[in-house]
Symmetry: C2
Subunit: 222 residues, 2 copies
């Protein structure tokens, strides 16, 4: 019953892929590394970005692009409050960011003054997986209270990312979450997925991630 | 940049609305009440359905339709384990159920033997809001660890539902969740939304919901 939609989706994806390519080319020319953060609603994307900024902005010039389905500025206001330049994208109800939206957002940032851009995608475990943005690294944030079965239920998302963050590990004592079952599901889909266990609330594990990212950025520069 | 998609979405919605109408007509003829449960991934849809069944299946003949984006039977297996007839729909990556999928699923249930059908939609706070299924009641499950800003960020979903369940209230002592801010956002979008506070883990508040639903079903029969 989905057949009728296939040709349409294909043409959108193809246009999206083209713009995604030019986005990455522009970022490369400017020497900017970029990260696309995806997660279900409330997994802690904004808190994770704020924690990352707190450590990395000492040595890096960071900008943020915030995606939401509604015309709100809750997340970009949080970035502005800590002195980080940010652009808010309202998708107008759409369930994901796309490369054209990022193209528009990049025009509103002073790229000469940045060396890292973090994109916060719309809260959704399905749609964002299908749309490349032109970013260099796809990061998925899972969270403990979401449950340990998510890799099995949202395989496309887990398959397509470069880094996995398991957030809210401070809640492990209070919820049923079988870490082995979760990680087994992840391994099945994405065997070498770089994985970090963190709590954005307590800060646990954050520096392991930022140290790794800093090393990764250094290696890219060489 | 979204203009090109409008005519397509419109035609899909129109076909969907027609099938949604015939689904509800069929359910009415059979004297079956039906509920569409929506939520973000991991808010507790399956646990909520299991808790509801535990109480209501004493007096009601219940069937369940499970929607997932991947070919898994994790949720429908849980229903079968408690003796509830269930149908699993694999959307093939699509981010929501639609009326055509429900039409197919209803053919696989023995409708003469049921008086309540619970549909578990795909875990997503955006797409399912736009697709009527033909069910009689739309229920949204929010969960405490998702955060108190979700009504502000996903207004279409909060605006379109008849009942709101705030789940995982057992986690209130361990997370930052301003209940007033959350409920204020809900009220702004959907002023008279019937709201229940529950914990599917401890069972707290579940009987308040099932008592209300049982009364609602009785009133419908009159």
């Amino acid at each position: 019953m989905e057949v009728k939609k296939v040709p349409i989706v294909k043409s959108i994806l193809s246009a999206n892929d083209q713009v995604s390519y030019t986005n990455q080319k522009l970022l490369d020319q400017k020497g900017i590394f970029s990260i696309n953060i995806m997660a279900s609603p409330g997994a802690g994307k904004t808190s994770f970005i704020l924690q990352t900024i707190k450590i990395l902005s000492v040595n890096r010039k960071i900008g943020v692009i915030e995606g939401d389905t509604a015309p709100v500025t809750i997340d970009s206001d949080k970035m502005t409050a800590v002195g980080i330049p940010s652009v808010q994208i309202n998708t107008g109800g759409d369930c994901h960011l796309d490369a054209m939206m990022i193209d528009e957002a990049l025009k509103q940032l002073d790229l000469a003054k940045l060396d890292l851009i973090i994109v916060e995608n719309v809260g959704n475990l399905i749609c964002p997986a299908a749309f490349k943005l032109g970013t260099h690294m796809n990061v998925l944030i899972a969270s403990v209270p979401e449950g340990d079965d998510k890799p099995y239920k949202y395989p496309a998302m887990y398959r397509g990312v470069d880094v996995l963050i398991l957030n809210k590990i401070d809640l492990l004592p209070y919820v049923t979450f079988n870490q082995d079952y979760f990680l087994q599901g992840v391994k099945m889909l994405n065997p070498n997925l770089k994985t970090f266990l963190v709590s954005c609330k307590t800060g646990e594990g954050i520096s392991v991630w930022t140290d790794w990212l800093a090393e990764h950025l250094k290696a890219k520069k060489k």
